[in-house]
C-alpha cells in the first residue's frame, strides 16, 4: 500500500517535471509556431543563476523563484529582439538560428563558469510516507508545476492580455487590424516563455548536478512533450506530460530508468504516427 503511494508520488513528480520543463517551450511553440532549439539552454541558465546567486549569499527561494525567471526572461527578450523577430514565419531558419544560439550559450556558460558539475543542496527536508522515506523537495516541484499551469490558464482564459495573445495566435492579421501590434505581442510571448524555462531550471537545480551541456537533458523530453501535446498550450502539455510521466515511471519501477526512457520515446513515436497533429489536434480541440 505504502509502495503504491510512493510509486504514485514518483509518477506525479515525473508529470510535474515534464510539464515544468515543457511549459516555456509550449508557450513559444503554441503561440508563435517558433521552434526554439535553445530551450534546453534557457533551462540550464536558470539553474546556473540559482546556484551561483545562492553561492553569492542570496536566499535560495528568491534565487530560484524570482531571479532565475527574471534573468532568463531578460535573455529571452534580447534574443527575440536580435534574432527571432527577423525570422518569423521561417521555421527552418529559426530552428537553425536557435540551434546556433544554443551552442553559443553552452560555450559562453562554459567560459564563464567552467565545464564542471555544480550543484546545490535541496532546501526541504525528507518526510516519512508509511514505511518509506521520501524527498520533500519533490512535493515542492509538484506544487510549482500545478501553480504554473493554473496561473498560465487563468491568464490566457480570463485576462485581457490572455485574450489578445490568443487572438494574435489565431490570426495575427485580425489582431493587427484591431490595433494590436503583433510584433510586440510576439516579443512579450517569447520573453514569457524564456522566463518560464528559467523558472523550471531554477527549481530543478537542487535535484541534479548541472553542467553547461545539461540543456540536452531537458530538450529532448520537452520537445516530445510539446509536439505530442499539440497546439493547445495547457491542455496539450498536461495531457502529454501525464501520458509520458506515467509510462516512464511505471516502466522504470518495473525495470530500470533506462528502459523507462526508451518506453517513453517509443510511445511518442506511436502517438505521433496515430495523431500527427498531437493529442490536442484530435481531442480537446477548442481548449487553451
Amino acid at each position: 500500500m505504502d509502495y503504491a503511494a510512493v510509486v504514485f508520488l514518483e509518477i506525479l513528480y515525473m508529470i510535474a517535471f515534464l510539464a515544468l520543463t515543457s511549459a516555456g517551450l509550449a508557450v513559444v511553440f503554441g503561440m508563435m509556431r517558433v521552434i526554439n532549439l535553445a530551450h534546453g539552454e534557457f533551462v540550464m541558465i536558470g539553474g546556473y543563476v540559482t546556484i551561483f546567486a545562492n553561492r553569492a549569499g542570496i536566499d535560495i527561494w528568491f534565487a530560484m523563484l524570482v531571479l532565475a525567471p527574471l534573468v532568463v526572461g531578460a535573455i529571452g527578450l534580447v534574443v527575440e529582439r536580435l534574432v527571432i523577430r527577423h525570422l518569423y514565419g521561417r521555421m527552418i531558419d529559426t530552428m537553425l538560428a536557435t540551434w546556433g544560439l544554443s551552442l553559443l550559450m553552452v560555450g559562453l556558460v562554459t567560459l564563464i563558469f567552467g565545464n564542471t558539475a555544480v550543484s546545490v543542496t535541496a532546501p526541504i527536508q525528507s518526510y516519512q510516507a508509511g514505511a518509506y522515506q521520501m524527498g520533500g523537495y519533490n512535493l515542492f516541484i509538484i506544487a510549482i508545476a500545478i501553480l504554473v499551469m493554473l496561473v498560465l490558464w487563468l491568464i490566457l482564459r480570463y485576462t485581457r492580455v490572455g485574450l489578445i495573445a490568443r487572438g494574435a495566435m489565431q490570426s495575427a492579421d485580425v489582431a493587427s487590424a484591431l490595433g494590436y501590434n503583433p510584433q510586440k505581442i510576439y516579443m512579450w510571448t517569447f520573453t514569457a516563455g524564456a522566463a518560464l524555462s528559467g523558472l523550471a531550471g531554477g527549481v530543478l537545480a537542487p535535484l541534479t548536478g548541472l553542467l553547461p551541456s545539461s540543456g540536452s537533458l531537458y530538450i529532448a523530453k520537452s520537445f516530445i512533450t510539446v509536439i505530442t501535446g499539440g497546439a493547445a498550450i495547457i491542455s496539450g502539455t498536461l495531457a502529454s506530460s501525464m501520458i509520458f510521466g506515467t509510462i516512464n515511471q511505471i516502466v522504470s519501477f518495473g525495470s530500470t530508468p533506462v528502459i523507462g526512457e526508451i518506453a517513453m520515446l517509443a510511445l511518442a513515436i506511436v502517438l505521433l504516427r496515430l495523431m500527427p497533429q498531437g493529442i490536442t489536434g484530435r481531442f480537446f480541440k477548442n481548449s487553451t
Binding site: 509502495y3 535535484l207 537533458l217 530508468p257 533506462v258
Partner: protein, 407 residues
C-alpha cells in the same frame, strides 16, 4: 669588394644559427616526450583535472632533479573533454605525430580500452593509473590503480560484518560498472551474503527517484554504489534528500575518487564507507611532503584525490625504471619493470607485479566524515590477486585481453 649591410646580417646570423643549433642539441638532448590523454573538462573533469596537475608536477619534479638520462621531460597533454571519440583521435596523434616515448592516461575503463591497442601496436609503453575492474592482461600496459581484489574485497568484508548480508548494487552502465558489479556479487556470495538486485545507469542519468523507492522496497542491509561522474553525484544527493542516508548504510567503490565528498555537504556525505589506495588524511611524511609541494605549486590541495596520486606514482615508477634501465628502449624498460621494481609514493609503496603488470598497493578503508576521508583501517601491500588468477604474462607474454570474473 662591396659588403652590403643586408649581406652582413644574413651571413652572420646564419653562422650564429649554425653554432647555436648543435650546442643546443648536445647540451640538453631532445626532450623525452611523455604523452597524456585525460578529461580536463566535461562530466568527468572532477577526475581528470587533478590528474593533469599531477602529471605536470611529476614531470617538473623529475626535470628539477636533472631529468632522465640527461634529458628533460616534455609533457604532451590532450584534453579529451569527457568524449570517448576524442580518446581514439588523440591516441593516434600521440602515437603517429608526436611520437611520444610513453603514455600515462585514460580515466574510464571505456577510454582505456579505446586507446590501449593503439599504443600496443605502436610499441609505446602505456600506463593506466586509475582504479578499475581488473583483468587487463597486456604486456605493453602497466596498471598502478587498484583492482577489485585490492579495494572491493576488504570493503565488502567489512560492510557485511558490520551491517548484514543483503546488498543492493547500483553501478555505472559500461565496462567498469558491469564488471565491478560482478566482483561485488562474487565477494558477497563468497561470504554467504546475497545481492538483492543490481541496477545499471548510463553516465548521464541524474534522476534516481524510482531507484531510491525500489531500494526501500527491497530493504537491503546495505547499498553498494559503483557510480561514476558528475551526473551520478545526484544519487548521493537525492539519497540524502530522502533521508535514507540515516537508514540504510552505503558503501562505494568510487566515492571520493572524484572528490564527491567535497561536492556534498557534510550532512549528505557523512557515514559513507569506501576503500582505496589514498586519503589526504594519511599522516606519513611522504604524504605531508607531497601535499606541501602540491600546495606550493598549485595552491589548492583539497582537490588532490586517489587517481591524481596514482598518476603521480605511475610517472615516478616509470621514471625509476628509465633510470635503472639507462635507456628508453621498450624491451629494456619492460625487463626492469618486470624485475619487481617499486617506488614509495604519497600513498605508500607501489610495487609492480611482474606476472600481471599490476601493482601491489597499500589499501585503506575510509569513512566520509565532515568532508574528509578518515582512515579506519589499513592493509599493507595487497596484491592484485583477481587479475593474477587468470593472467600470467611471464608465461604468456603475447596475451592481449581482459579477463572477467565468472559467477
Amino acid at each position: 669588394m662591396s659588403f652590403s649591410r643586408r649581406l652582413f646580417i644574413a651571413s652572420t646570423s646564419g653562422a650564429a644559427a649554425g653554432i647555436a643549433l648543435p650546442f643546443h642539441v648536445f647540451a640538453q638532448g631532445a626532450p623525452i616526450k611523455l604523452g597524456s590523454v585525460l578529461d580536463n573538462s566535461g562530466n568527468l573533469d572532477a577526475y581528470g583535472k587533478p590528474m593533469v596537475l599531477a602529471t605536470t608536477m611529476a614531470a617538473e619534479e623529475i626535470n628539477a632533479a636533472g631529468g632522465l638520462l640527461g634529458r628533460k621531460i616534455q609533457v604532451v597533454q590532450y584534453d579529451t573533454q569527457s568524449d570517448i571519440a576524442l580518446y581514439t583521435k588523440y591516441a593516434q596523434q600521440l602515437a603517429r605525430d608526436d611520437k611520444v616515448d610513453v603514455v600515462h592516461g585514460g580515466i574510464t575503463s571505456a577510454s582505456r580500452e579505446a586507446i590501449r591497442q593503439t599504443f600496443r601496436r605502436a610499441n609505446i609503453l602505456y600506463f593506466y593509473n586509475v582504479l578499475y575492474e581488473g583483468g587487463v592482461c597486456d604486456r605493453n600496459c602497466f596498471v598502478t590503480g587498484t583492482t577489485p581484489a585490492q579495494a572491493v574485497e576488504p570493503i565488502v568484508e567489512i560492510s557485511q560484518k558490520q551491517w548484514g548480508k543483503k546488498v543492493y548494487v547500483l553501478a555505472a552502465d559500461y565496462n567498469y560498472g558491469q564488471i565491478t558489479a560482478k566482483w561485488v556479487a562474487h565477494y558477497v556470495k563468497q561470504r554467504g551474503g546475497s545481492v538483492l538486485q543490481t541496477d545499471f545507469f548510463p553516465l548521464d542519468v541524474a534522476d534516481f527517484g524510482s531507484t531510491i523507492a525500489k531500494i526501500q522496497a527491497a530493504a537491503p542491509d546495505s547499498v553498494c554504489a559503483a557510480l561514476v561522474g558528475g551526473a551520478h553525484l545526484s544519487f548521493f544527493r537525492q539519497w540524502a534528500a530522502s533521508g535514507m542516508n540515516k537508514k540504510i548504510p552505503l558503501y562505494s567503490t568510487t566515492f571520493g575518487v572524484g572528490n564527491e565528498h567535497l561536492a556534498l555537504s557534510p550532512a549528505e556525505g557523512d557515514g559513507i564507507l569506501i576503500a582505496g589506495n589514498y586519503s589526504q588524511e594519511e599522516t606519513t611524511p611522504a604524504n605531508k611532503d607531497f601535499l606541501a609541494r602540491w600546495g606550493k605549486r598549485f595552491g589548492d590541495t583539497k582537490i588532490v584525490h586517489e587517481i591524481a596520486v596514482s598518476q603521480y606514482q605511475g610517472i615516478k615508477l616509470w621514471a625509476e625504471a628509465v633510470k635503472k634501465a639507462g635507456s628508453l628502449d621498450r624491451d629494456k624498460l619492460m625487463k626492469v619493470l618486470e624485475s619487481g621494481i617499486g617506488v614509495d609514493g604519497p600513498a605508500g609503496l607501489v610495487k609492480m607485479d611482474p606476472a600481471t603488470h599490476h601493482a601491489s598497493l597499500d589499501i585503506k578503508v575510509m569513512e566520509v566524515k565532515g568532508q574528509k576521508l578518515t582512515i579506519k583501517q589499513a592493509f599493507k601491500q595487497r596484491p592484485p590477486s583477481d587479475t593474477a588468477a587468470s593472467c600470467n604474462l611471464a608465461k604468456n607474454p603475447n596475451e592481449n585481453k581482459q579477463f572477467e570474473v565468472t559467477i
